[in-house]
């Protein structure tokens, strides 16, 4: 296997990781765009999605053993998406809406509280152990040109691309999307024009949660393991991706996610060559954050900027 093949494989690894980051980052960025809130419980919504899907898939396997892998995947998504949407709507109603006009630090603290609460509840419900995620799509490696991939990884990249395309259409072409953009630009004027801000904000949370549910199921399927604190690290990384792309900016979150995934994969793969053997893969996270610092110093509002015209 040549060095170029290794490079292409790392790019693909980065795409898979980046697609997941992008899906999660969208939830952060949409909510921030509308209510200026960093929803730190977002990563844990992802975890709830993955674990709900785990329970649903296990039950489906027990009832219909003949169900194929993609059927199980649909069952998992079908259970995870409504659950996450519901959880997210409850969180918004209970922990964020009463504080909408409070100082910005107050909802930040309730967000962290909700995050801890969700993790503890999940630990009580699903236990403390790592759960082995069922193999949903065939695990055998397949060669696509020089890179070796699996169906699950292809599904992650394709599904993320489709979802992100759909989201852009929704924001640009539908009346809900127009209402979201209007609320983001100026909530009071939007309300005067007949837009119900509560409904728009709730819809934003719901869409973010649905994306997190998909990301959760796919994360667990790719890495074949799920546990109650699995949302923390991806949540943190996705938040980073959202900032990298320009928080509040939807295409920015997508670009930021993919870029961060690529940086991480290529950083782990090439940092020792770049640094002449001084740093090894133990510095891969440092590498990612150095790039983040550099980007933010040169472009303080992120790669695509924070306040573009259609920020939503």
């Amino acid at each position: 296997m040549g060095t170029f093949d290794t490079f292409l494989q790392q790019v693909f690894n980065g795409l898979v990781l980046g697609s997941l980051y992008a899906l999660i980052a969208l939830g952060y960025t949409m909510v921030y765009g509308i209510v200026n809130l960093i929803n730190f419980a977002h990563g844990d919504v992802l975890m709830v999605g993955a674990l709900t899907a785990y329970t649903a898939i296990s039950a489906a396997q027990a009832h219909w053993p003949a169900l194929p892998g993609w059927g199980l995947l649909l069952v998992g998504m079908g259970a995870a998406i409504p659950t996450c949407v519901l959880v997210s709507l409850v969180i918004e109603r209970v922990a964020y809406r009463p504080l909408r006009n409070a100082p910005r630090l107050a909802p930040l603290i309730t967000a962290i509280g909700v995050s801890i609460l969700l993790q503890t509840l999940a630990m009580i419900i699903w236990g403390r152990n790592h759960l082995t995620y069922p193999q949903l799509l065939p695990p055998d490696p397949i060669s696509v040109g020089p890179a070796i991939v699996t169906w699950t990884k292809i599904a992650v990249v394709v599904l993320s691309a489709l979802i992100m395309g759909g989201l852009l259409l929704l924001v640009q072409r539908t009346s809900l999307g127009r209402a979201m953009r209007a609320t983001a630009e100026n909530p009071r004027v939007a309300a005067l024009m007949g837009v119900n801000p509560d409904r728009v904000i709730a819809s934003t949370f719901a869409i973010g949660a649905a994306l997190a549910a998909v990301a959760g199921v796919m994360t667990a399927a790719v890495y074949s393991v799920a546990h109650f604190y699995m949302g923390f690290i991806p949540g943190l990384k996705a938040f980073t991706a959202a900032v990298l792309g320009g928080i509040g900016n939807i295409p920015g979150a997508m670009v930021g996610g993919i870029v961060l995934g690529l940086i991480e994969a290529l950083g782990a793969g090439y940092i020792d060559q770049l640094s002449g053997g001084i740093f090894g893969s133990n510095y891969q996270d440092v590498f990612a954050f150095i790039v983040l610092c550099a980007v933010l110093i040169l472009r303080p509002s992120g790669l695509l900027g924070e306040r573009v015209a259609d920020r939503s």
């Binding site: 403390r128 695990p139 133990n282």
Partner: protein, 388 residues
């Protein structure tokens, strides 16, 4: 003041008085606990990625305590004491480990079985040593643990000097490898073991073609594995626990890596096979002790364990079981509940336990520690060989 609040006041006074009594009794009785009960501590992760191993260790110790108590307890002089096991959770986290250690010291234990992870045993050992409490670990293999100059640290498994050497030897002799890639999880255990393997394979003329690092909470290993794949090693050695080794093995096979995979005791459990699923097939791992199936009373232990707890032995419960017996033996021989006397007796242990003949060297390591090699075959750990 109305009567309910007066009643509450009386009650709280009573509680305070009782608490005071309890404390004064502990003070007078030294470290023994209260009445005719001797307290022994047990610490291991009961939550987080290695909770199953922590629970396994605790179960082994509990089984021994229950047996000793059923047989009449521990005789000290002419008085028989019952044992009480105080089980603490260190979450596999060095900071939590010192908190748990302090808590046990404060609750008056005479000895501690634990911790599971070397990264926890080492910082905790300082606290036990300062309090004069003897610490017997059933599973911490990092060399440093017993080499800090403390008289209070013991282990009843082989150390990573022996284990890493055995793994290196197996890579050369068993797997006929010429090139090795080594990955570790940057914990005290993982990096220590990886360093020992690295020394041995280099000494035996192998080339280390790649050296990579991850962490004990990682779930994505694709980037480092892709790099390993580009280096074409004959064998991949991983220093880390089963919670990461399982997904790592699975992702390696999904990237089309066909190299042999060799792990240490932290990833030599049924849980590893469960997490790696079909990818575990054919991988090699070592345990820093004799295989349970090879022990004289091993089958009997496995059956009793299953009957009592309803689960299977993971790795080191036979060793935590023996750790309790070693401590009980030392208390009996010391003839008192004095911590220093007990620690001195543990050092002189000469005990035929479930896991073999237990005699410690001057550091607190086993004199005849064994390392067993296993291979995953049809979803089970199959015993291959033992080296001493």
């Amino acid at each position: 003041m109305n009567s309910p609040s007066r009643a509450a006041l009386a009650l709280s006074l009573a509680i305070l008085a009782l608490a005071g009594c309890d404390r004064s009794k502990e003070g007078a009785g030294g470290s023994a606990g209260s009445g005719n009960v001797i307290r022994i501590g047990h610490v291991a992760p009961l939550s987080g990625g290695t909770a199953h191993l922590g629970k396994d260790n605790e179960n082994g110790a509990r089984l021994a305590v229950e047996e000793i108590n059923a047989a009449g307890g521990v005789k000290v002089g002419d008085k028989a004491y019952q044992l009480e096991l105080l089980a603490e959770d260190d979450k596999g986290d060095p900071r939590e480990a010192t908190l748990a250690a302090q808590k046990l010291v404060d609750s008056g234990v005479v000895a501690v079985v634990g911790h599971l992870n070397s990264g926890c045993s080492i910082p905790a050992s300082q606290i036990y040593n300062a309090a004069g409490i003897v610490q017997v670990s059933p599973s911490s293999t990092a060399v440093k643990y017993t080499h800090q100059g403390y008289k209070s640290t013991f282990r009843i498994v082989a150390n990573d000097g022996q284990q890493g050497g055995a793994m290196g030897n197996y890579a050369v002799d068993g797997l006929k490898a010429k090139t090795v890639a080594i990955i570790d999880d940057q914990t005290q255990y993982g990096q220590g073991l990886a360093a020992e393997v690295e020394n041995r394979v280099k000494a035996r003329g192998l080339t280390v073609v790649d050296r990579e690092y991850t962490n004990d909470k990682a779930s994505d290993f694709n980037a480092i594995l892709t790099k390993v794949r580009g280096a074409h090693p004959d064998v991949i050695v991983y220093g880390g626990m089963d919670a990461t080794a399982g997904p790592l093995t699975r992702q390696a096979r999904q990237l089309g890596i066909k190299s042999d995979i060799l792990t240490g005791d932290g990833a030599c459990s049924p849980e590893y096979i469960h997490l790696a699923a079909e990818a575990a097939e054919g991988t090699i791992c070592t345990q820093a002790g004799e295989a349970v199936s090879k022990l004289a009373r091993g089958d009997q232990f496995v059956a009793r364990y299953k009957a009592r707890f309803g689960t299977d032995v993971q790795i080191y419960s036979p060793y935590s079981y023996d750790a309790v017996y070693v401590i009980a033996d030392a208390i009996h021989n010391a003839g008192s509940l004095d911590r220093a006397a007990i620690a001195a007796q543990v050092a002189k242990t000469d005990y035929n336990g479930l896991t073999g003949h237990i005699v410690f060297d001057e550091n607190g390591d086993l004199k005849a520690g064994a390392v067993s090699v296993f291979q995953v075959h049809k979803g089970q750990l199959e015993y291959l060989s033992t080296s001493r």
